[in-house]
Amino acid sequence: MTGSGIRFIAPLLVLMVVAFNAPIVYMLGLAFWEKGRGFTLEHYEGLLETPVYLRVLGNTMRIALIATIANVVIGYPLAHWMRGLGSRARMIAIALVVLPFWVSILVRTYAWIVVLGNGGLVNRFLQWTGLTDAPVSFLYNELGVTIGMANVLLPFLVLPLFATMIRIDDRLLQAAASLGAPPRTIFWKVYFPLTLPALAAGALLVFILCLGFYVTPAVLGGGRVPMISNLLDTLINQIPRWEQASAISTILLIVTLLIFAAYRRLDRKASA
C-alpha cells in the first residue's frame, strides 16, 4: 500500500523538492559556503560579535508572544460565545471572522491608520467625549503593531478553537452539573481541558506566523519596531548581504523548530 501511495504523490513530491525545498537549502547553505573560498563559519561568528541582529530576533520573539497572548485573550471568549449562538447567528459570526481573509492584508493594515490615527475615528471619539485632551498614540509603536497583528491572525486561532468547542458534548457539562459542580468548576475542570489542545495548536500557529510578519510592523510600527523580517529585507534587498541573511534565517528556523518540538512534547504528554 505504501508503495503504490508513493507513486501517486511522487509528482507533487518532486515539485516540492525542486521548486521549494532545494532553493531554501541553497539559500541556507550560502552562509556556510562561499564561492572560491569553500566552507566558512565567518557569518555566524559575525553574528556573535555584533549581537544587534540577535537582539532584533529577541525583540521579534517578544512581540510575537505579546500578539499571541492578545489573540488568545480575544479569541477564546469569542469562539466560546460563537458556540452558544443559534445556527443562523453562528453562520453570521463565522462569516464575520472569516471575512478579513478575503481582504488584502495591506488594505486591512492601512485601515487601522484610519481608525487609530491621531485624526482617526477612535481619537476623535475620545476627544469628543472629553476623555482625553490630546490624541492618544495608538500607532507607530508596539501597541499599533500588536493590534494589527492580532487582527490579521485572529481567524487562525478562532477557527480551530471553534471547531473543537462545537464538538464538545453538552451532556458532559450537564453530567458535571448534575454532580453538583458550580459553573466555574465545570469550565475549568471539564470544558477548558477539552479545548486546551486546540488552543495550544492555534496559539502556536499564530506565534510562528507572527515571527515572519513583515507588512504590519512596517506600516503600523512606523519604523520604530524592528522585527526580523524587516531586517532580512534590508540585508537581502539593500545591502545585499545574503550570507548574513542566510545565517539569521537559519537561526530563526532552528528556534521555530525548537518551539514546535517543545509543543509536540507537551501535546504528547497531555494526551498520554
Binding site: 519604523g223 534590508t234 534587498n237 545585499p240
Partner: protein, 340 residues
C-alpha cells in the same frame, strides 16, 4: 517576449548566420528595471517614447529596483534585463560586486553632460534632493538646527529609515557646516539622533509616506524627497542644508551586445536637454544637461534640485564614503533602532 521567440526561431533555422548577423546589430526590444512611480513615468515620457518614435526600439519597464534583485539577476546568469536603476552609492557597491558593465561612452556619444553624471559605470540621469518640509501652518525652520529643535518648533517629525539620509542632517543640527560633513562624525550624529528620537513619530521606508503623514496631521515636520512635496500648497519646504543626489541607470553585467547597442541609443536620448525638459514635466527632478535650465519654465525653477539658488545651499552625496563605511554604519543604525 518578441525578441526571445525571434532568437529561438533563428537558432532553429538553417540560415542562422544571416539572421543572427542582423540581430546582433541591435535589439528591437529591451527591458529596464527602475524604481517605479512618477520617476518611472518621467523616463517613459522623457526618453522611452522619443526613442521609440525615432528608432522603433521598445523599452519595457519593470519596478522596483533593489540591489538584491540585481545580484539575483546576475548570479542566475539571465540576460533578459539590460538596464537597471541604481542610487549613487549603490553604483559603487554594484561595481565592487561585479554586477554592472562599464559604460561605452564613445558609442553613446552623448550631448554635453555634468561630469559627475558621466560615470564610468552608469548614466546619471536624474538629480533629486532630500529636504526639510512641513505641514502648512507649522512654524517654519530656517536650518536643521531649528528643524530638530522641538521646543521652539513643536510637532512630531518623520525621518527616513536610512542612515545615509539621517546622519548628515543630524550633524548639521549639531552645528557641522555642510562643506565639512564628510568624513562623517558617526558618533556625534548618533548622539544628536538619540537626543531627538523622542520627537520622531515615524521612520519612513517609502517616499510616499511623509507627504501623506503630514496631510493626515500625524506628523508636522518631515525630511523627504523634494519631488514629493514641491508645488503642493499643503506643504512648506526649504532646500537649505538639503542633500542633492543623482540617480543612475547602469547596464546589467553579461547583457548581450545587441541589447547594449539598443541601450546606448536610449542613453543618447537621455542626454538631450529637450528630452530632459519633458521628463521634468512629470516629476520635479532634473537631468544632467548644463543647458537644461534655459528650457525649464521660469516660474518653476525654484522647485528643481539643480537650479542655481537650490544647488548652492545643498551638499552633494559622498557615495565613496558610504561605499567604504556603509555596512559598519548600518549595524550601528540597527542598534540605534532597537533603542527607540
Amino acid at each position: 517576449m518578441k525578441r526571445r521567440t525571434f532568437v529561438g526561431a533563428a537558432a532553429s533555422l538553417p540560415a542562422v548566420s544571416i539572421l543572427s548577423g542582423t540581430a546582433r546589430a541591435q535589439s528591437k526590444e529591451i527591458r529596464m528595471i527602475e524604481s517605479g512611480g512618477a520617476s518611472g513615468e518621467s523616463i517613459q515620457k522623457g526618453y522611452i517614447d522619443p526613442l521609440f518614435q525615432k528608432t522603433g526600439i521598445k523599452v519595457v519597464r519593470e519596478s522596483p529596483s533593489s540591489l538584491g534583485k540585481l545580484r539575483a539577476l546576475v548570479e542566475s546568469g539571465q540576460t533578459s534585463t539590460t538596464l537597471f536603476e541604481l542610487g549613487s552609492g549603490i553604483v559603487l557597491q554594484a561595481k565592487k560586486l561585479g554586477l554592472i558593465e562599464k559604460m561605452d561612452w564613445a558609442a553613446i556619444n552623448p550631448a554635453p553632460m555634468f561630469p559627475e553624471a558621466k560615470n564610468e559605470y552608469g548614466f546619471g540621469y536624474s538629480y533629486f534632493s532630500t529636504i526639510m518640509a512641513w505641514r502648512k501652518g507649522a512654524k517654519e525652520p530656517q536650518n536643521f538646527t531649528e528643524f530638530f529643535d522641538s521646543k521652539a518648533f513643536p510637532g512630531k517629525r518623520c525621518l527616513p529609515d536610512f542612515p545615509h539620509y539621517c546622519l548628515p542632517f543630524a550633524l548639521q543640527a549639531a552645528g557641522v557646516p555642510i562643506d565639512k560633513l564628510f568624513p562623517l562624525d558617526v558618533d556625534l550624529a548618533f548622539k544628536k539622533l538619540n537626543e531627538v528620537k523622542k520627537d520622531v513619530a515615524v521612520w519612513w521606508k517609502a517616499g510616499a509616506q511623509p507627504p501623506q503623514l503630514m496631510k493626515d496631521n500625524e506628523v508636522q515636520y518631515s525630511i523627504c524627497w523634494s519631488g514629493r512635496v514641491v508645488g503642493d500648497p499643503a506643504f512648506g519646504l526649504s532646500f537649505a542644508g538639503g542633500k542633492a543626489d543623482l540617480s543612475f541607470i547602469a547596464v546589467v553585467k553579461g547583457s548581450k551586445p545587441e541589447d547594449k547597442a539598443a541601450a546606448n541609443k536610449l542613453f543618447y536620448e537621455m542626454s538631450l536637454p529637450e528630452n530632459q525638459a519633458k521628463a521634468a514635466e512629470v516629476i520635479s527632478y532634473t537631468g544632467p544637461s548644463p543647458e537644461l535650465d534655459a528650457l525649464l519654465p521660469k516660474d518653476k525653477l525654484w522647485q528643481f534640485p539643480t537650479s542655481k539658488q537650490n544647488k548652492a545651499v545643498q551638499y552633494f552625496e559622498n557615495a565613496e564614503w558610504w561605499a567604504e563605511n556603509g555596512e559598519a554604519v548600518n549595524k550601528k543604525w540597527e542598534a540605534f533602532k532597537l533603542s527607540l
